[in-house]
Subunit: 206 residues, 2 copies
């Protein structure tokens, strides 16, 4: 884009729009509207139009959006019109599930390597991957030029792993360990902790 | 509380505060401050004080917060000073990982049952659970009075599962399937889709 600052909250909604548009594409659809998209997503049509308008002109008043065009544009904006390789650290249940997950294909990502610290797990086969020794992690990630990692270790190992990942040149971390990480400001971190989501809902339950 | 409306974004930060406070507790700590908590979480001290003040008076200027007291208060606010039982639907890799996940204990949740539609999976043992036939899901959930479910099916089954869960009386859904669900307004939904988080970060990468 033209270097304008766009709030992260807006950036964060684009992947949700993209996912819905790709579902529509999968259904064989060619055109949609902000109204329809809004109904699917529980977001107002005005919000969707406003968000998209921050990145360019993607539809005409009254004729809606060409789905394929909009999908391609959003993929370009989010830089997922390419495949990003991922290093997974922690080969337990969650790490194994993530390494075998079929949902990354066509959405811009591919797991490339998986590491663990446990000698009994190193060398084990998970899907098409052989679990590597995390002692060799920094070198392997650097050599492969990988920029994205997922941490799927227990909480008490996660910060140390994060430090090594930063050393290895990782620029984005998806952290499944239930702990907040301290990393340099140029490294992006997102969190997946099911309990955080659950507790946000129990507040409203009786 | 006194029934005042508190924005969901504020409610959503409480579990993150709680998690950090419980880590401190685990470290044997007894007192903390909004400054220290803010540094751990990358949130300003002022934001933390403002958020907490919406729920009551938990600390005194200059003396900080008593960690144990604040933990207990937040647990009560989030209603996780009890154990909520969870039904998991979908016994694939993610569902199995979630059913075996050790991180729910002491945070207010316990998986109680797991269902699948696949005859080859029904009856299988996952940790301490026997996978049940999802045809019997509505009855089993109703009978147990369970209010929270996790959907860990493929995307194309998730909406149908959600409909059944609503029928069964479920009030909160944590959805791992990469699709937005349509449910009645009184049913809460939270989403976990690693690709959404990853795409939010690649926007910023080079």
């Amino acid at each position: 884009m033209d270097g304008r600052f766009i709030p992260d909250i807006v950036v964060g909604r684009l992947p949700v729009y993209l996912r819905a548009l790709q579902h529509m594409q999968h259904e064989g659809r060619q055109v949609t509207s902000s109204q329809e998209l809004g109904e699917r997503l529980g977001i107002s049509a005005a919000q969707i139009r406003k968000d998209l308008s921050q990145f360019g002109e993607f539809g005409k008043q009254g004729t809606g959006y060409q789905i394929e065009y909009l999908v391609n544009q959003i993929r370009e904006i989010l830089r997922v019109n390419q495949v990003w390789e991922i290093a997974v650290v922690g080969a337990g249940d969650i790490g194994s599930a993530v390494a075998r997950y079929g949902g990354f294909a066509n959405r811009g990502f591919a797991v490339r390597m998986i590491f663990d610290i446990n000698p009994e797990v190193i060398g084990k086969q998970i899907g098409s991957f052989t679990v590597q020794d995390s002692a060799k992690m920094v070198e392997a990630i650097r050599l492969a030029g990988i920029q994205i990692a997922m941490i799927t270790t227990p909480a008490n190992q996660a910060q140390e792993v994060a430090n090594k990942l930063v050393e290895a040149g990782i620029k984005a971390i998806l952290n499944y360990a239930p702990i907040t990480l301290n990393v340099p400001p140029e490294v992006h971190v997102q969190y997946i902790d099911p309990v955080i989501h659950l507790q946000r809902m129990t507040y409203y339950l009786e």
